[in-house]
Amino acid sequence: MSLPRLAQGRNRGVMPGNPACAGCPHTIGLRVMGRVLGDKAVLVVPAGCTSIISGFYPRSSLSFPLLHVPFASAAAVASGLRASMDARGEEGVVVVWSGDGGAADIGLATLSGAAVRNEDILVVVSDNEAYMNTGIQASGTTPWKALTTTSPVLGKSEERKDIALLMLFHKAPYVATASVAYPIDFAEKLERALKVKGFKLIHLHSPCPPGWRFDAGKTVEVAKLAVETGAWILWEYMEGSFRISPQSKPFVQKERRKPLAEYLKLQGRFSHLRPEDVIEIEKKMEESWRLVVELEKFYSRS
């Protein structure tokens, strides 16, 4: 997959004039999705920013057929649609396009059920790390200390949960992380995921300008810095093999990472951090790396 090839896709995913905020990461993700699997896919969308982005009746801004569904129900509705298509001998990819709340919080049990059943569906969690659509409330994936409207002064006091690892431990055959700053990587992961029969989940890192309080022109820059500072790790698990993706691989070595502060200082949600908080975040980050490196070793042994 190359950028020009990706750009050639006929299906544009999301149309111009859609009501997303300027710099919206979801629209980047949807564009890649459209180009890779547009005409093959049916989207199931739980409540979230995409409920708005998809446009206003009688129009639709997405070039996918799509079902809007209640917050906690997406992976189950997708399972039903899949079952129906199988029963009727119909082809197609059933995709859940969800935010962090719909996948990791209110919809976690539903997602877990679908993963355990190894439903032949693809779940893309476009994670903007808070409930943005309702006005930036803290979610299960909001990082420690981030300011949100429900952690407005001190920042979030809890850890963030790792939905991709949770799905890996459900024994799902395909789980990966991706970032809107690396569309080719995301596109290739989508393509590989499609080759796998069974439950597939891609956890897409989606920095949100109003939610994280950075300039709308800097979405890709922030997303890229997340990877370059090691705050977001790209990896892929596919049927028994676990690899840290090439884009993240150099940053296994701490020295090669950019200073974390570069990533944090762009974001208003971290403007209140004290130096010791940054050190604490670095420690947590280091733990994540240690686990991912161990996982890579663990799976390469088998």
């Binding site: 209640p70 399972s79 039903g80 649609l81 539903t110």
Partner: protein, 394 residues
Amino acid sequence: MKKKILMGSHAVAEAVKLARVDVISAYPITPQTVIVERLAEMVERGELKSRYVRVESEHSALAVVYGASAGGSRVFTATSSHGLLYMYEMLWWVTNSRLPVVMAVATRAIGPPWNIHTDHNDALTIRDAGWIIGFAESVQEAFDMTLQAYKIGEDKRVLLPVMIALDGFILSHTSEPVLVPEEEEVADWLPPREPLPFKVEPGKPFAVGNLGPDNVTMELRWNAWKAAERAKRVIEEVSAQYEKRFVTGTSSGLVERYETEGAKYLAISIGAWSGDVKEAVDALREEGYDVGLARIRYVRPFPREELRDLLSSVRAAVVLDRSVSMGHMGILGSEVRAVSERTPVKNVIAGIGGVDVSYKDFISILRGFVEEYEAGLSGEWSVAEWYMPWVTER
């Protein structure tokens, strides 16, 4: 036509099998579970070619069959009590998407305290969610209504989900002889589901449920409202057609009239205990009381006109309620009172939490009701009466 001895739950499963559903999904809850256990067995033995999706909650069970129905499949789920309440959000979503879904509800009390026995609060609590709600009196009727539910809900004039309630244990776990039509006969009477006016399929961008102007929401509700009104005719048609073809001996339409001809007093009930009410009516008739029973078969759409007619020809009516809306009255009682033009309606709440109410209790309830009316006490009926003979201090 075969005669089989079937438990209520197995009768429902048999009907689902004959309806040739494509997708089944459910989550266990007593007393419903036996229905879906039986279906799982049918699927695993290869007697039924359905997809069976074992989910992690009732919310997901309804979400699965919703997704499958959106894909054009014929579907089934079942639940009880807490499971039904856990589905509440999805119930509305299904209706507002105008997708046919059939669900059996083995009625059960809502906790706490934990109680697995029947009352009607679970099924009646969802009466505003836009589902067609039928209540069976017998195992045969649970079977018949389940099969009819597909034809009613899938009818182009309706396109609404249908719930068939059968009293937990009293019907779900009781065996009765059931007349079961042959597969080919049913296949002829109930053809495969017709495709939806739209289809969710790859390559055809089409959004179901996008944001829209407020007036569109209101117009969609109005359309569903009209469909529910039309459903009355469809229920009558389908049930009459069915009875004519299969002659299983159950009644048709929205209301069954039992000894209502020339009755001066009317009892009104739903569900399994109506059989006991009928016995009480027989006994009282012999004693010279002119009582009859209107058994409501469908609570939604509500048989307004039928009940209004029945009520207008009697002196007074008593609604036997196995449900209660706190701070007001029995749920069925308030529904019936709302359509009574002049006839006084007494409301008796009994059998909550599965408390047994025998035909003897009904004799005493009905006798008391007639005597109160004749003593000129109907003015005191505004508050519902709780029938609890074991409680002596009031």
